[in-house]
Symmetry: D2
Subunit: 373 residues, 4 copies
């Protein structure tokens, strides 16, 4: 049910004009050594998720690559690193400054991808707020094009809440998307992996049949047994092989070689051996993918979506130096979840308010039939 | 994404055994004349939405046909009528009794369609409550089969909230379902009709483009202008013809001869000429369709869904005397809306928690390609 | 738990400067007769909820009094009336024009109450969207002051969803607010009145005890019996007297002489004799109060809140010609409900996201102990 | 606004009758050594949150003390321990059995606190589901009594989502509850502590004034600066002292000596030095409080509420051997959050659907004025 497609392309990026005032008169950025490991000096600068430029020496404005929200900027060996404050080491040269217009050698460029303004905002209008009643046909159509493009030319990261594995058709849809190359990294928690493997082993999720919805007698043991079986074998890979589990999300990642991060939480049962139980290690592992990501699709999880959203800036500097936008789709049932993501700084998120079951089925239906790469 | 289909059929109905005690010893039901128009006598019986039997004379148990929730049962010319209390006339013989086990000649039969019980309810289980995380694949699959069946052998009533017309693809999906025979009656309000016709005329809903989401300059006049154009012409039909409006929900109803009820509310702008502004007249018009309905699909409206839900019993007596279930699907984004419907008595409702946009697109995708009747 | 109170006063109103260009050069507004009853001429002007001025003759700018959203402006006997289009009569002189900056003699003044701008909008910020996590202490404190002020100097209209009568303490809180003069008009539906009277008669709401939550055997008859008792007696007043019902919302209105409008809907059981079943008559009755209102408090109802919100402009012209803001508080559990109100044009609404039970109890606790007027 | 209070007391506990058949004939429970650290033997038993009895030798039925959901039962030195499976050591004797009626020496007793059944469940009723429209007056009144009781005779654990610190009045209310002895342990995450300390230092939460709601210029640095200040000083206690932060939730815990657990998550900024970043260590720290808890109040957090809910059984064995219920109140805005808690096994949870801001203010208003202990 797709509209006649216009040829689609990434929007161009317009860098700032550093030769014009006031930027032409801006001073270089200044630094101070960090007083201790994981501690920033007074007046440190913290990044937004917009493109930010530093004037390291007169006329030398550098765009921060691999940025993220709320990072400190550190100079190491002439390179600018956007680091979580806890990763700053004593003596690191930390960029100072809290202005964003260049007066301290820092320029935040929030309009690089913006289309020319056209709205003559009226004093009165209906429907100024996005809700479940917002039309989403175009968001879907754009997402289809984006995923087709980034399958080959980008890096698509999926952030999944545990419920994605609870329904037969949507679980298969996600499996299909992975198998057809639409997923380059998977960011999830212990629960998603456990539910997915329980479905592969028993056809249930927390003891409930993922198709018939029947609560099987003793079914809650499925959850615990699955965990115990993996722990006994020591790894997911060995479990998949020995129990011949072949369908679902985690098996698809394994068979396609798609990396996944299992980030630990206090809700975890088990956990599975691969879970990174230290939240700092889990953040570091997620950040590796954030640094490569060009498109994020986050489904039905506040915890992981906000966590990953904090790590993903609105732009990516490609190997050839070109700058492109990073897209962030968030799919959830409630306006509150989406607003919360924005309130934590993920300003560029595109929301689709629906059940992730239908969202995945829609995607799969529209992207399927594409050539398998 | 449909499962291998088992042959599907309506569940059989098991009537009560009136020859066995205690029903064999039950007395006939009693009546008293209504004291005034629209007023019931003390001790009147009110219906549930389950099948109810009255023993009119010894051994003559009659199943109430065309029942509804909270109706009074009136004997007129030997027939039992389930009437809204306001429609009872002075002197009407009103059935008395507030028990449901036969002791007053009234038997409420809530298990006629029930499959044999099998659950040995455990003391502990996960996932005992239906939420957005409940797997819906099977609900969809069953609904596809049901709609195919009832397209030819039943009466499918759609109850639509206004947002259904706000998105291009879902509006076309609903149009397609109507054009392909999957809708026998449409129960909506003024707003749905206005939004749908605004989309046909201007491509917008309340001034917002239903595909691009752009808020057009002066767009809020689209809504008012559309209303004014219909009011000037005196009817929707004439407006469709003169303005050559051909796409959308209301045009599809007109071209297919599908009846629709536009029930008025205090939120209405205009309203359109066809709107029944008196809520009693609107209820009466809706009841006509309730009496014929075998399947209800209610999308994104509490007001109309609860109103129609109150009118639709859980069963239908077919012309040949057979009894079949009436299905009631409710699609909404929030657990609260579904719970509220149940709390107002629509106990048989099957909930699908999702955005109606995706729901309709799913339906259309799966039912499309069927032969056009 | 109230903060140290600053003296509170209504914000001043700054009218436009009509002597300065471009308004000084604006032409007078033009009119055309309405072609038929309830039909507007092409190019008619529709009001927003902001203050709007018409230049009737050169230099004679008149502020539209008793305005509302989406009204037509009609000149009758030299006066400007803001009428619902259906109330326009053939031949009425209807103001034309779709601009808002004076070029057609119409000026929409959306900044009359605005404080001087101070925000130097930053490119990045957290928490730009209002949600349930927004701090509401100040909204409460301001509302307390506003209600104390408008009890004597304004007109406070309450719009209540049916659930307000379901809880013992909140029902008593609402009763107390009415008895202490904080309510000048009540806008509700049949259900609120029925639930409230059921609570007065049986201590239940739809058969559920409003304190213990117990579902009483046969309790669903309470609802129907209460309706029948009122219908038998022909009026609420007579029922209160004969059944000696003294507590609750409707009894408090009756004993204080507070007018209430019972607007009909298709969900209504009964309805009670006082219900205005024709939505146009109900709208007309509500509009009478909208024209007087200075503060609206709308609790847990989309239907009535949006309907009344459409009728209430953001300002009121007082008898002495002064212009003051009209406050609109909306209390609901979901961001969606609040966003929807705004999307239908009630731009000035202040949202408090909470359960109306607690909201009312908070209000009563803070306003209680005031002198009884 | 409290009802006339009946004297309140804990409900009595009725143990099973092990002398009657079939329990009198039940065999002793069996065990098998765990095959490896953190791995359970086939057929292991997993606990529910109900009281469970093991027959260790004929006639010797022992109630599992300090239980939790989904624990393995291990015999160490004649004592039964309910351990998370990851804490089981190789060779531990693990109880086997998946039945709950005694036939394997395990008896799950789910009705020990149940009042005598009285409901003659009718075939039709309104309002069978709990929602925001459920009356909560009684839940509040019971909670007031419970908190007063458990302040002296129990152990009250609070589980707080981060939003609790965002509003001035509710933050003060929580502070007051802690200072007056109504909190014995606080289970939160890094964010709650950071927001609370930001409010103490700057009067903001994520840069937004917690009273005026103003977004302060550069306010997002408040969040980061607060974290940096604590990290520089190495501890919260030293920061409170050196910066003279005295108001709020964390300062109240420190001044009263109330222990708090800061459990890490992947969303954390910083984190603060006291945060347990390893989820297993955080779980272990939380479990210590779970083992003592008699009442839980969980506000506006799914992650922490579900995590702690999994650790808290429905009963507590007191030092004198008496058995009492453990109460679990969950306060949230959405039915989904509450249903999800139940779907993860916290069957005994009492829901209050409201904004935690109002909930806390209600509590404080009603419990304040009590003697300070």
């Amino acid at each position: 049910m797709q509209s006649t497609e216009q040829p689609w392309s990434l929007p161009p990026y317009s860098p700032p004009d550093f030769s014009a005032p006031p930027l032409a008169q801006a001073p270089p950025a200044t630094t101070t050594p960090a007083p201790a490991d994981g501690v920033l000096p007074d007046g440190y600068h913290a990044t937004s998720n917009h493109p930010e430029y530093l004037q390291l020496s007169p006329g030398d404005w550098q765009l921060v690559a691999k940025s993220r929200m709320d990072a400190a900027l550190v100079l190491r060996e002439g390179k600018v690193l956007a680091l979580e404050p806890r990763r700053v080491r004593q003596g690191d040269l930390v960029i100072l400054g809290r202005t964003e217009n260049g007066e301290e050698g820092i320029y935040v460029h929030s309009t690089g991808f913006a289309p020319p303004e056209s709205d003559g905002a009226e004093k009165f209008a209906f429907r100024t707020r996005g809700t479940r009643e917002t039309p989403f046909s175009r968001s879907y159509d754009e997402l289809y094009q984006l995923l087709r493009h980034d399958r080959e030319h980008g890096y698509i990261s999926w952030v999944l809440g545990p419920a994605v594995a609870f329904d037969k058709d949507s679980r298969y849809a996600m499996q299909g998307l992975i198998e057809h190359g639409f997923c380059h990294a998977l960011l999830v928690g212990n629960a998603l992996a456990v539910h997915d493997l329980e479905a592969a082993r028993f056809g249930t999720g927390l003891g409930q049949d993922i198709y018939t919805r029947q609560l099987l007698p003793g079914g809650h043991y499925h959850h615990l047994d699955l965990i115990n079986e993996v722990r006994r074998r020591g790894s997911i890979v060995r479990t998949l092989r020995e129990l011949q589990l072949v369908d679902g999300i985690i098996p698809a990642c394994e068979s396609r070689g798609v990396p996944y991060v299992l980030a630990g939480s206090i809700r975890d049962d088990g956990p599975l051996p691969e879970v990174l139980t230290d939240s700092r290690l889990a953040q570091d592992a997620m950040r590796i993918h954030a640094d490569r990501t060009t498109t994020v699709v986050a489904l039905a999880t506040q915890l992981h979506a906000i966590a990953f959203g904090n790590m993903v800036p609105s732009y990516r500097v490609l190997p050839d130096g070109k700058v492109r936008p990073v897209y962030f789709y968030v799919v959830d049932m409630s306006e509150f979840s989406v607003d919360k993501l924005v309130n934590r700084g993920s300003l560029q998120a595109t929301a689709i308010l629906t059940n992730v079951q239908d969202f995945l089925i829609n995607l799969w239906h529209n992207l399927n039939g594409e050539r398998t790469v």
